[in-house]
Each structure stands twice: as C-alpha cells, then as structure tokens.
C-alpha cells in the first residue's frame, strides 16, 4: 500500500488557502490502495462530495484520448451499413504510449485537433466466411506535424475485437482517421469505463456481548464485514472498506450495530480501458480540473475588480 498526499490535490488546497481560505478545510490527501495498469482504488480524504464528484466527472469526460472520428469508405459490400461500420470503428479503444500522448495532448489543448491525426487502413476481402478483427486495422502513421513521430505506434487495445463478418466474396476497403477528443463530446473518447466512489463506511458495534441472537447480525451481512466469534460480535477490519452501507445488519439487530459514514472520506475506484495507464488518466484529469478552477478563480476576480471592489 502506498500512502501520502497527492501533490496536485495539495496544490488545490494551498491555492484556496492563499486566496483567503475556506473555513473547515483540511489538507486533502490520497492513499492509493491498489494500482494496476487498468484499475485503481484509492481513499480520498479531507474533501467534500463536490470535489470527489468533480474528479469523477473529469476522469470520464475531460481526459482527451484518440478515437477514430472519420472514415473514408472506398468499398463495403458487407451486410453492415457504412455508418454502422464507422460507428463500430469509432468505439475501438486505441492505445498510445505516454510520450506520444503528451505530444497529442498539447496539440489538442492548443485547439489544433485537426493537426494531430492518426490514420489507419483496413482492406479485407473474404474468400470464405470470415470475421474482420481490429487486428486487421493497419496503422498508417500520423499526418501533419506528427508525421515525424516515426517510432510512435497507435493500435487497438485488443486485436480480437470483431468489426464485421464477411460472406465469401464480400469486401471492405476503408481509411480511418483517429482524432483527439473528450468524453464530453462522445463516449468513444472516454479513457475509463466505470468510475465510482462511496463514503468511507463506519460500522460500530454498540453491544459487544449480546449472545447467540447476534449471530444473525453477522450472517445477514452480504460482504462479510461483521463476524460473530465466541459469543461476541466484531467488525472485520480488513473487510470494512467493502461495506456497501446496505444496513442489513442494522435491520437485523437494531440496537446492536450502527452503520454510518465519514462524509469527508471517499473510497474511489477507477477502471481503465487500456488506452492509457490509469495513473496517467488520473494525473491528466487533475491537471485539467486544476486549469478549469484557475480559470474560474481568475474570472471571478476579474469581475470583482471590474466592479471596483477589492479582494473577495
């Protein structure tokens, strides 16, 4: 388990404090509990639900990625319409290495999304019944200023995503162009699938020595958070974070267990699509969120100054 304050969150906090501060705000921190290539779970402490939700929304809809946005169909005698084919191509998650991603990101943030385009070709003719897979897509390089990125390669996250099935003699020939965009515009640009958070649960046993009838309080819990052992009821600490706060235990034993939560701590779980490492997705989301907060503060200050008042 890695623990410690995330520099970006702390940064937000200090900036808020510098500008007068907000009463009752403590320094936020993040403790990462599990971090894989495609999944991450962490505990976010010292924030309001609004902050947690802002992060969730930034992760889903404000992290730019690459996705096929335009398709030039030369030939398509398959049973799917050109539009359906294009739609399916668009939804294929495309993987980029972090270095190339940074270059694409700055290109996108400068508002030149048509300058950072990755092109693909797909050319398949069936001699017997076959499936066209994402592996048949050939990366044909970047166009424009990115054509110098010869080492960079963009490819589908998986090579076995079926695009269409062809009968003998059918043919699909097309070119596809992938552009940068955000999930706000279209879900194909989302870098993550499920992002969710919940309050940090607090389960308290009010009456430890309650005898045999308390066995059912433990048995009723679907996540195994409570344990009945040797005539006493106890909370299984390592399972506490799995508590869904369903209150089944409270219902079974009204005066023995109490379920509540800490509304300044959140258990956050993020599932990536393999487009970028989740750690990178979180970093970019925070960076973009921070930029927007800066813009907001500056706008508010500017309009206050325009009114002739001093600092807020």
């Amino acid at each position: 388990m890695r623990s410690g304050a995330c520099p970006l969150v702390v940064n937000v906090y200090y900036r808020v404090r510098e500008r007068g501060g907000v009463r009752g705000v403590q320094a936020p921190s993040i403790a990462i509990q599990k971090l894989g290539e495609n999944e991450c779970s962490m505990v976010l402490k010292g924030v309001t639900p609004a902050v947690a939700n802002a992060l969730r929304r930034a992760l889903m809809s404000d992290v730019p990625t690459l996705a096929i946005d335009e398709v030039v169909v030369v030939e398509n005698s398959s049973v799917l319409f050109d539009e359906v084919l294009a739609h399916r191509l668009a939804l294929i998650p495309l993987k980029v290495d972090v270095e190339t991603y940074e270059a694409l990101l700055s290109c996108f943030e400068e508002g030149r999304r048509d300058d950072c385009v990755a092109s693909f070709t797909l050319e398949v003719e069936a001699d017997r019944q076959m499936t066209v897979y994402s592996g048949h897509l050939k990366f044909a390089g970047f166009t424009g200023e990115f054509s110098s990125l010869a080492y960079a390669e963009v490819k589908p996250v998986s090579d076995i995503i079926p695009i269409v099935k062809l009968a003998p003699g059918q043919k699909v020939v097309l070119e596809a162009y992938a552009k940068m965009g955000t999930g706000k515009e279209h879900a194909k640009w989302q870098p993550v699938s499920a992002v969710a958070y919940k309050y940090y649960p607090k389960v308290t046993v009010l009456k430890r020595e309650c005898g045999e009838e308390c066995r059912k309080c433990a048995e009723v819990c679907p996540k195994g958070v409570l344990r009945w052992r040797g005539g006493a009821l106890e909370v299984v600490e390592e399972k506490l974070e799995e508590c869904a706060m369903c209150r089944a235990c409270e219902e079974a034993c009204p005066d023995v267990v109490r379920v509540s939560w800490d509304d300044t701590s959140f258990i956050f779980s993020i599932e990536g699509l393999g487009v970028l490492p989740v750690s990178k997705v979180v970093e970019v989301a925070m960076r973009r969120l921070l930029k927007r907060l800066d813009r907001l503060i500056n706008t508010v200050e500017a309009s206050l100054n325009a009114l002739g008042g001093g600092r807020a």
């Binding site: 096929i68 335009e70 398709v71 030039v72 169909v73 005698s77 050109d82 294009a86």
Partner: protein
C-alpha cells in the same frame, strides 16, 4: 425515333436473376422496372462507385 438507344449512363442497376448490370436508360427500353436482358422484375440498385466519407459517431 429509334426505341433502342446506346447507353451513356453509368451501370447502376443489377438483375437479381441473371446478374447483368445496366443503366437507367437501358432499363427504360422496356416499360416498367425490368431487366433489359432477361425481363426479370427484381432489380438491385448498386452502390455508387464513389468514395464515401462518413463521420464515425
């Protein structure tokens, strides 16, 4: 005026029976929608021979 004209249009139809391709003008040789070669009345309209640009949404 001769009934039979030489076709200048593109071959945009195809007979579902004999598989021959023909243009609109050629089809109009016979009254109604019919294959000018075999008279079959099920005709397929072929895909235009142009490149099509689609937004992937």
């Amino acid at each position: 005026m001769p009934r039979l004209r030489v076709s200048t249009g593109e071959k945009m139809y195809k007979c579902a029976k004999c598989g021959k391709e023909f243009s609109k003008e050629e089809m109009e040789i016979l009254p109604g929608v019919k294959c000018p070669y075999c008279g079959w009345r099920i005709v397929i309209k072929l895909r235009a021979p142009t490149v099509k640009r689609v937004r992937a949404i």
